[in-house]
């Protein structure tokens, strides 16, 4: 199935890309998508334990299963305010 990957802030800068679609197996989780992202962009690997995620613009868990067409966003530690 195809999902959209979306990166923000320093993750986007390190990867050199912001939004793209990728093919993952049926039943894939957010963590599976993150694994493909870090494989393609090794500088993101140190964020393994510091990344938050959202699916379709709602906070999600790395263990959450995905559906065809989902929009999966990865968020580095936040610094608003």
């Amino acid at each position: 199935m195809r999902v959209t990957v979306r990166l923000f802030a320093r993750l986007r800068e390190l990867a050199g890309r912001e939004v793209w679609t990728t093919e993952v197996p049926a039943g894939a989780t957010v963590a599976d998508v993150w694994a493909t992202v870090t494989q393609a962009h090794p500088p993101l690997a140190p964020f393994d334990r510091a990344v938050s995620c959202a699916v379709n613009a709602n906070f999600s868990r790395m263990s959450s299963p995905l559906q065809e067409g989902d929009d999966v966003a990865f968020l580095p530690p936040v610094s608003g305010g």
């Binding site: 802030a9 800068e13 510091a50 938050s52 613009a57 968020l75 530690p77 936040v78 610094s79 608003g80």
Partner: protein
């Protein structure tokens, strides 16, 4: 009013909205507390030229709504308005405006403080600092809106 904007912030519109909301509730509105976060000229001893803020707008607005819901669960007759600015901000410009309205002053300060502490914990907003001699993304909290410990920590700070 919960929003992300590229425009300069003003607390006036926020104040009007929350006062009107609380006027119609419970004891009415007797206190308004406001907070503006402002771009500082230095960061850890380095001279700042300007900042750039970035947000995941759709998720940020939902996060602000969660923060408002949390505040109103604790202070049922309060109202809260919160707007975060994104884009390039110069020194002295406001990056966030929060206004809390309540019946009495202690709660207004507490709601305002709770809101800013929660923004710093969970809002999907990022600050990129541009110094005279380089630049750096600021990375603070790992955002987890379901983390009860973080929520309690923010509440303890707000009610200190």
């Amino acid at each position: 009013m919960l929003a992300v904007t590229r425009d300069p912030l003003s607390i006036d519109a926020l104040t009007t909205a929350v006062e009107a909301a609380v006027r119609a509730r419970g004891e009415g509105c007797g206190a308004l507390a406001s907070f503006l976060g402002v771009v500082r000229a230095t960061h850890q001893g380095r001279a700042v030229r300007y900042l750039e803020y970035e947000a995941f707008d759709a998720l940020a607005v939902k996060t602000f709504a969660q923060i408002r819901d949390e505040a109103l669960a604790r202070w049922p007759d309060a109202e809260l308005a919160l707007v975060h600015r994104v884009g390039r901000l110069e020194i002295g410009e406001a990056s966030i405006a929060i206004v809390a309205a309540t019946a009495h002053r202690a709660d207004a300060f507490a709601v305002c403080r709770y809101a800013i502490e929660r923004v710093k914990q969970i809002a999907p907003v990022w600050k990129h600092e541009y110094f005279v001699d380089g630049d750096a993304w600021v990375e603070g909290a790992v955002a987890d809106p379901e983390d009860a410990d973080a929520r309690e920590k923010a509440m303890a700070i707000a009610c200190a």
